[in-house]
């Protein structure tokens, strides 16, 4: 293709024809390459990930207040694209929230927390067959088990999402991507003594940082969940900042939730 393009490029000099040629080149290029490498995410998250999605074969950790909602919202893009999701040891998953955030429940399987010794076996069996795994290990995973799981995930193109809530530091290695909710504030509650209103939406600032091309942290302000239960970009964009400078929200800045 490149050969033909270069020949034609010499012949065709005028710019509209050149753009036409580029379009032709794009159409003839093998399809699916980007989609094979990354799991799609929904629109509001696309700018946060290098390549527009979560790289297959990676380990993603979510942290901060609202980590569960963030994980579900990240999984939603792949789920809507027809990928099956399995959650292991996440018995407290809010199914109604999952469907509101866009996860297709027809393609969700929930596995009870396995006994400590069987956790690697169960997850290894599932990595072979599912492309999205949401895990929450309750005990330390041995480095050899972790390496084997990651190798299998790379081979199969699966993504492991780690939820907080299990044992701290259960996964021995640093994750490939760290998705952190650095600030969150709820709106909708009436701040009076009558108990008026109800929780409507939460404005969060999500920071994604990791290895390789994701080493520079990216931030986005989102409604998670928005007024309709789904995810929406918040109106005011937050510029990319170095990780040292804290972002001060109008509402209280949150630490790690209890």
């Amino acid at each position: 293709m490149g050969y033909i393009c270069s020949i034609l490029g010499c012949v065709v000099a005028s710019s509209p024809q050149r753009t036409e040629l580029h379009r032709l080149g794009d159409r003839a290029r093998p399809l699916m390459m980007a989609a094979e490498r990354v799991l799609p995410v929904t629109g509001p998250f696309e700018g946060l990930f290098p390549g527009g999605g979560v790289r297959r074969g990676s380990v993603v950790a979510t942290e901060g207040p609202g980590a569960t909602s963030l994980t579900l919202a990240l999984v939603a893009g792949a789920s809507q694209a027809g990928v099956w999701t399995v959650a292991v040891g996440v018995s407290a998953l809010g199914l109604a929230a999952a469907t509101e955030l866009g996860v297709d429940l027809e393609r969700l399987v929930v596995v009870d927390p396995p006994p400590v010794g069987q956790w690697p076996t169960v997850v290894a069996a599932l990595v072979d067959a599912f492309e999205v795994l949401v895990v929450c290990p309750e005990a330390r995973v041995r480095p050899t088990d972790a390496r084997r799981l990651v190798a299998r995930a790379r081979e199969r193109g699966a993504v492991l999402f780690h939820l907080p809530g299990g044992r701290a530091g259960a996964w021995p290695d640093a994750p490939d991507l760290r998705c952190r909710v650095v600030a969150a504030s709820w709106s909708g509650l009436g701040r009076d003594a009558t108990g008026s209103g109800h929780l409507r939406a939460r404005r969060v600032t999500v920071e994604v940082a990791g290895r390789r091309e994701a080493v520079r942290p990216r931030r986005a302000a989102l409604w998670l969940p928005g007024a309709d239960g789904g995810v929406a970009p918040a109106a005011r964009p937050v510029p990319t900042v170095p990780p040292a400078a804290p972002v001060v929200e109008t509402a209280a800045v949150m630490e790690e939730s209890a």
Partner: protein, 532 residues
């Protein structure tokens, strides 16, 4: 070889075969369940209002005394083997369609026995002897297997065999409903049948009057197949042909295999190899011959037919069924030594059309690999440990959707019950969306205190006794409440003293920014969910 006229065929049909195979007398109500739905039932259960496709609960409601059996195709096939073996005495080649139904070409045997009627009577008595009074037998003879199968279903008490004269198959089929091609013919084209019925073509006779070219143009190969069946022609497409002999795959087993599961395991690899060879030529098998030979030269061969193409898994399953039946058969036919040779022959092949994905991007079926992985996890953790969401109804976040064991649903079919209902549900008192993302299965205890340190209560009129000021969950330190909303009181099932519950829910936002949903019942607060 091009054939358009249907070959004269005899079909043996044993009604309610899964029940018979389980050894249940037919006058006793019995249900066979697969994925929580009835797939077969005994006549006694049918008389009580049970029908195929009913949910387990409904079926048991209608027939409380019914024996419940699990769907086990291997058991059905094992029990059917004596019937097929009995027919070997009549015809050289018996095609098994599914356990409970098999077909044979009548051309030779009818001449030998002196006509279709005589052959049908002979077959009826042979099968009746093989069944030994455990089940009923119905025999139909007509042009083509589909017409013969329909004829077999018109038999009744005192009339075990129905013979449709040559050339009258189309007329005999005219009154059957269009859906018969799926239920009896085994054609997997529900979309075509559905459209035909909605177009007003409710009987096969009405379908048969359509011009063939127009049916093919509008409905494609599936429509053509339905149309051919409706006209009493052979179901097999025109390009069905006997393949070249090099497509046969053979496995020499050394040392000889004594166990069925070992042979079935080897058959998986063999079936994969067969599929690969067919695939290279763009073919798919609709009839496969499975032959096994023992050390002592005994040979056992059966032909298995499926109108949709046979997948490797389906072939391996049939090898297991067949060997199971052979090894557990009567002492006269049972092999005396281990199996040394396994041969798979694609007896009839068609051009592989591939599987079309759903039009609305809706390929939600789980693949075989995932099913195997889930089965392995179930083996490790127990069947209840692997669950999928299913819609219920209710006001609380844990009540709208629940997790049910994966064994109760069919993952290979679309599951609309996994989707939650819209907001129009009749659940007054429900906490408005968004829903909380963390809903613990056992809600931990919590404390909600007023500014004076007293526990906050909810009055009978649905108001809080004092505005909440502090919240503590499960013995952890208390946090200041910065905002709250509610209460949402609910009074559920007041008509049932045992299930009556009065509760009230409150949303609380503490000073760390964590929003929680607390519920009070009998004066005690619990943490129902966290808006994580």
């Amino acid at each position: 070889m091009r054939r358009s006229a249907a070959a004269r065929t005899l079909v043996v049909w044993c009604p309610d075969w899964p029940v018979v195979a389980a050894g249940i007398p037919l006058d006793q109500p019995a249900l066979v369940l697969h994925a929580n739905r009835v797939v077969a039932c005994s006549p006694a259960a049918r008389a009580e209002g049970v029908s195929e496709g009913l949910r387990r609960r409904e079926a048991q409601g209608r027939s409380p005394a019914a024996i419940v059996l699990a769907h086990d195709p291997a058991r059905d096939a094992r029990a059917f083997e004596p019937v097929v073996a009995a027919l070997d005495a009549v015809a050289p080649r018996v095609e098994v369609r599914l356990p409970g139904s098999c077909a044979l070409a009548t051309r030779g045997p009818a001449r030998y026995f002196g006509g279709d009627h005589a052959l049908a009577d002979t077959v009826t008595s042979l099968v009746a002897v093989a069944l030994d009074g455990r089940g009923q037998v119905a025999v139909g003879v007509a042009d083509g297997a589909f017409a013969a199968a329909c004829a077999a279903r018109t038999t009744g008490p005192g009339r075990a065999a129905v013979v449709v004269p040559p050339g009258e198959s189309a007329a005999s089929l005219a009154a059957w409903p269009t859906s018969t091609v799926t239920t009896v013919g085994g054609i997997e084209a529900p979309a075509v049948v559905d459209v035909l019925v909605r177009l007003g073509l409710t009987t096969l006779g009405a379908v048969a009057t359509l011009p063939p070219a127009d049916v093919l143009a509008r409905f494609g190969p599936d429509g053509e197949l339905v149309h051919r069946l409706a006209r009493g022609l052979d179901a097999r497409p025109l390009d069905a042909r006997h393949p070249a002999p090099d497509l046969t795959v053979t496995a020499e087993l050394d040392p000889p295999v004594e166990r069925v599961d070992t042979a079935a395991f080897l058959a998986v690899g063999l079936a994969d190899e067969l599929h690969r060879r067919l695939d290279e030529r763009g073919l798919a098998a609709i009839q496969v011959g499975i032959a096994a030979e023992t050390e002592h030269g005994e040979r056992h061969e059966r032909f298995w037919r499926h109108e949709g193409a046979l997948t490797p898994a389906a072939i391996a399953e049939r090898v297991r069924w067949q060997l199971d039946g052979w090894l557990s058969g009567s002492s006269a036919t049972r092999p005396t030594a281990g199996i040394t040779r396994l041969v798979l022959t694609p007896d009839e092949v068609v051009a592989a059309r591939g599987r079309q994905l759903g039009f609305w991007g809706g390929e939600s079926r789980v693949d075989e690999r995932a099913v195997r992985a889930l089965a392995r996890v179930q083996a490790l953790l127990g069947t209840e440990a692997v669950t999928v969401p299913e819609r219920r109804g209710g006001r609380g976040p844990a009540e709208r959707l629940v997790l049910v064991p994966v064994t109760t649903v069919d993952l290979t079919a679309p599951r609309p019950t996994a989707q939650p209902d819209g907001a129009a549900e009749p659940w007054p008192g429900r906490v408005p969306p968004p829903a909380p993302a963390v809903v613990p299965p056992d809600p931990p205890a919590a404390d909600l205190l007023a500014a004076d340190g007293a526990s906050v209560g909810v009055t009978g009129r649905g108001a809080v006794t004092a505005p909440p000021a502090e919240v503590a969950v499960d013995g952890a330190g208390s946090r200041k409440v910065v905002a709250w909303a509610g209460p949402w009181p609910v009074d559920e099932r007041w008509w049932d003293p045992a299930a009556h519950r009065r509760r009230a829910r409150v949303q609380v936002l503490d000073d760390t920014g964590t929003a929680r949903l607390l519920v009070i019942e009998d004066g005690r607060w619990r943490l129902e969910a966290t808006y994580d």
